[in-house]
């Protein structure tokens, strides 16, 4: 059985859907023209981009002209935050974010701190949640940006974005949300939710890697980040990545159309897995909010064991998953998210993230539950921490 490969790391990246590859292929070598050209073959590319922009805008309730394609989710985050910061520098230098943002946001904020901006990192509760009230209380007269992720990539917690949007709107402060993990899993409407800027990344919903987008509400003051040619109406330079843009939009359209049905399936897998792990394995902790969480996200800490070893053992059984373990990243510090929800270091080191997707079935969970308890047991028997606990 160990030769079957089971992928349970969809929050890291997803395979590209076959329909999406099909949609992309013509743009590699048939309709490959530069969209900025005026001849026919360039016009085909141009049209493909505009149709894609329309699809993406529809998915979040925006106007096509408010969508700008980027080279990744990270670039969208960098652009949104630096772009608002530098364009509004004269109005103020204060930014509000949370302590559990993705590094694309956190490191960008830290960079801005080194350039004279001030950043408030709001703490989260034990489930990883912040409240709109916390945001309101943090707003200062010189606050120019609130940037709070829609859903967390590690623990899956979904923030009260509409409430935060309301607070931001009332205060007249721009509101950016990193929706990289939420897109395709959560219903998003930028106008209802009062979102001014929103980052997306295609490879999280069965689209290609290396393509993202930033929604920028009409009127938002934003400096350019990548300077050069006049693409994307002069706001984001570089020859448009036509096949990837087409892939992005195709994948997003499919994801949004099938979202409810898809989520039902993910929720069933998720809740079953959580229940069985809680029943079968002692000394564990579910990380993230039990209900307000992404439908495909399971995140547990297993006391006394270390995450990378757990991953390797699972990999030997053909199961691909992820961990907040420091070891998987070459660092010695475990995930800042797990520390922010209050886990002690040694427990943060022993966490496992399973993120389900399209291809996963109940049989995959069967297999997981066949091997996971034994692996945890084996690693605990090897652990001096477990030994110490047992001797107490």
């Amino acid at each position: 059985m160990s030769d079957r490969n089971i992928y349970m790391d969809h929050a890291a990246t997803t395979p590209v859907r076959n329909e999406v590859i099909e949609a992309m292929l013509p743009y590699f070598n048939e309709k490959f023209g530069n969209p900025s050209s005026i001849y026919s073959i360039g016009r085909d590319s141009k049209k493909a981009i505009e149709e894609s922009r329309e699809k993406v805008s529809k998915a979040i309730g925006a106007e096509p002209r408010e969508i700008f394609f980027t080279g990744s989710g990270t670039e969208a985050d960098n652009w949104a935050i630096k772009g608002v910061a530098y364009a509004n520098r004269k109005r103020g230098k204060h930014i509000i974010t949370t302590s559990i943002e993705h590094h694309a946001v956190l490191h960008t904020c830290q960079y801005l701190e080194s350039d004279g901006f001030e950043v408030t990192y709001l703490p989260v509760d034990a489930d990883g949640l912040i409240t709109a009230e916390q945001v309101r209380a943090a707003i200062r007269p010189d606050t120019i940006l609130i940037t709070i992720m829609f859903a967390n990539n590690e623990i899956g917690t979904i923030q009260p974005i509409a409430e935060i949007g309301k607070v931001a709107k009332e205060a007249g402060v721009y509101f950016h949300t990193d929706a990289v993990q939420a897109m395709g899993n959560v219903h998003i409407n930028v106008s209802e939710m009062n979102i001014d800027l929103l980052s997306m990344s295609s490879h999280k919903f069965y689209g290609p890697k290396g393509i993202g987008a930033l929604y920028v509400k009409k009127g938002v003051k934003l400096t350019s980040f990548i300077h050069g040619g006049a693409q994307e109406r002069g706001r984001r330079a570089s020859t448009e990545n036509v096949p990837a843009i087409v892939g992005f939009a195709t994948a997003l359209e499919i994801a949004v159309e099938n979202m409810d049905q898809y989520n039902k399936k993910l929720l069933a897998l998720r809740d079953r897995t959580i229940k069985e792990i809680e029943e079968k394995i002692p000394f564990i902790r579910l990380n993230g909010h039990r209900e307000k969480r992404l439908p495909g996200n399971v995140n547990f800490s297993f006391e006394f064991i270390e995450g990378e070893s757990l991953l390797l053992m699972l990999d030997l059984k053909g199961i691909a998953a992820s961990s907040g373990s420091a070891c998987t990243s070459g660092s010695l510090d475990p995930s800042h998210v797990l520390l922010a929800i209050g886990l002690p270091h040694e427990i943060a080191h022993g966490s496992l993230r399973l993120t389900f997707g399209e291809e996963n079935t109940d049989a995959d969970v069967d297999r997981l539950m066949e091997v996971l308890p034994a692996i945890v047991k084996r690693l605990r028997e090897m652990s001096p921490l477990y030994e110490a606990m047992c001797k107490k």
Partner: protein, 147 residues
Amino acid sequence: MYSEKVMDHFSNPRNVGEISDADGVGQVGNPKCGDIMKMYLKIEDNIIVDAKFKTFGCGAAVATSSMATELVKGKTVEEALKITNKAVAEALDGLPPVKMHCSNLAEEAIRSAIEDYQKKNGLIDETNACDTCCKRCEDIHHVIDTE
């Protein structure tokens, strides 16, 4: 990422366990850093006749623990003290650069267990159990997840 030898020692670690009547026991590392290695030695006539370990840590930590116990067995105390982290890593056909600290841990675990033996037997009186891991925790540049 890991060599075949590392994966072999990780998935089939040699000498896992405790020695109830160990002559020397050493524990190094810090749960905060995600690595703890505890080593048990049985020493007769200055020769290490048995070694066992328990490790909380990553794949490399488990594999180096396993290799370290293999390497010390049959050696004199003096020989065992000469085992360097490099030797452990080499015996495993190398470790990824970010994992080299795990081989430090193995070297330290051997030393620490031998020191315990020497202390118990009045062979030295000064302890300097290593706390390198935690120094590193603060030293090492914070590197982060990449998805």
